[in-house]
């Protein structure tokens, strides 16, 4: 099913067709949006099995609630909104991802080293890179993934209060770096 000729329809037209039960349109939407969703969710969860399950949930939800897309913004962003929330729900139900993050933190160069290396550069990328992995994870979940504090807390397996304090610290550090 992944080797058929491309469908000329826009994503929004595909969603409209899915509302009418068009399976071809659904297959095309899946073809277009599965790869990046798989990769993007895979960067936020260490278990490929869980990612597969979440992606599956997401597309079932897309099929069932295609009519609920508000026709504003990108279809991809809408699908991402469903996907990341399903991931948060799946993580809340199952094992916490914390152990994997700890392991990652051990491999990473220390926060001080990051800061020292980044002081000479003034741009946002370097400023972001200068944050410790813990702070950066919080910035990523709230600012870039568009999650609420509570959802970010579930995704990262830490209390909501910690998300808030880390976000505050990250903001202060970024401000200092970019000043």
């Amino acid at each position: 099913m992944l080797t058929r000729p491309p469908d000329p329809r826009e994503d929004s037209e595909l969603l409209a067709a899915i509302t009418d039960g068009d399976r071809e349109a659904f297959a095309e939407l899946y073809r277009r949006h599965l790869p990046w969703l798989l990769v993007r969710l895979g960067r936020r969860c260490s278990s490929p099995e869980l990612v597969d399950e979440v992606v599956q949930d997401t597309f079932v939800a897309v099929w069932r609630s295609a009519g609920r897309w508000d026709r504003r913004g990108e279809v991809a962003a809408w699908i991402w909104g469903i996907g990341i929330r399903r991931l948060v729900d799946a993580l809340r139900r199952g094992r916490p991802p914390a152990d994997e993050l700890m392991e990652f933190a051990g491999v990473e160069t220390s926060a001080e080293e990051h800061v020292l290396l980044a002081v000479q550069y003034g741009d946002v990328g370097a400023a972001l890179a200068s944050l410790s992995p813990e702070l950066r994870a919080v910035v990523q979940a709230t600012v870039l993934d568009g999650l609420t504090t509570r959802e970010a807390a579930r995704l990262l397996g830490i209390p909501p209060g910690t998300v808030k304090t880390r976000m505050m610290r990250a903001r202060a550090m970024l401000r200092e770096r970019l000043a």
């Binding site: 099913m1 277009r32 949006h33 798989l38 990769v39 599956q56 597309f59 950066r136």
Partner: protein
């Protein structure tokens, strides 16, 4: 569409998880806007994995949607298969429940009008849940019957699950009707133990006959015994303390018998064979 695109090398490293976090974040922001770059990623995703997920998605999309009751049962911790079994039980459909409620409401109303009908309410009350158990297994009404006959599923388990479901729904209906009765409050509950006893007796009989026949036999005996005493005005004989203890004993005895023989007895759910 934007004219700027991600460098193919950056997409490769992003897809393989090798891009530094700040660059990955920027790549993700662009990917949300750019169909072309999203398309490039697909070459880094295992097509067998994509295919496998697609089949699962199609399976789930094709599966009939679960009803609200079924989803509620699953959320309460009931297994998915069991929840489906309970939900398709013919007795638990609206029309049947309405009919039971209607008959009992009528009996309760008649008892309000004339004290003599009170006796008839007690004769009829246990028959409601009991008939519900029979209908749950009535051949023509059960949509899972053919599957049930062929499935390697414990007949006793099926019997108990459905009976429990039927009782859980029909007993409150009878209880509500009982509260409408005139007279002391114990009367409103006097039919409970006979109902339990009759149900257990019917269940025990399913080792010898189909549930429908078993319920028929038990119900007939019940009516033959209680109707004359009720008409004669000896309410205590059928519902007094002695009778209550007798029905409790029948219920416990039937339950114990079922438990003791659960591995040796074949429950006849199909055509009487």
């Amino acid at each position: 569409m934007t004219v700027w695109h991600l460098d193919p090398e950056a997409i490769r490293r992003y897809a393989q998880g090798a891009l530094p976090p700040e660059l990955a974040a920027s790549a993700e922001a662009h990917l949300m806007k750019c169909a072309v770059c999203r398309g490039v990623i697909s070459s880094y995703v295992d097509s067998r994995r994509a295919e496998a997920i697609w089949h699962e998605v199609v399976d789930r999309v094709d599966a009939p949607r679960r009803s609200g009751t079924e989803r509620m049962l699953v959320r309460l911790g009931v297994g998915e298969a069991t929840a489906r079994l309970v939900v398709v039980t013919p007795t638990l459909r609206g029309p049947w429940l309405l009919a039971v409620a209607g008959v009992l409401a009528l009996a309760a109303w008649a008892a309000q009008v004339d004290e003599r009908f009170l006796l008839m309410f007690f004769v009829v009350a246990p028959l409601g849940p009991l008939a519900g158990v029979a209908v749950a297994f009535a051949g023509g009404l059960d949509p899972t019957r053919e599957i049930g006959l062929a499935a390697p599923y414990s007949g006793l388990r099926l019997l108990l699950i459905r009976t429990a479901a039927v009782l859980a729904v029909s007993v409150p209906i009878v209880a509500a009707a009982g509260l409408l009765l005139p007279g002391s409050s114990w009367l409103a509950a006097a039919w409970l133990l006979p109902t339990a006893g009759l149900t257990c007796a019917a269940l025990a009989l399913t080792a010898r006959m189909t549930p429908v026949v078993a319920v028929g036999v038990v119900a007939t005996v019940w009516v033959l015994v209680t109707a004359p005493t009720a008409v004669a005005g000896h309410l205590d004989l059928a519902f007094g303390i002695g009778a209550q203890i007798f029905w409790l004993a029948v219920a416990v005895g039937g339950g114990l018998w079922l438990a003791a023989t659960r591995n040796t007895v074949t429950i006849k759910l199909g055509r009487s064979a």
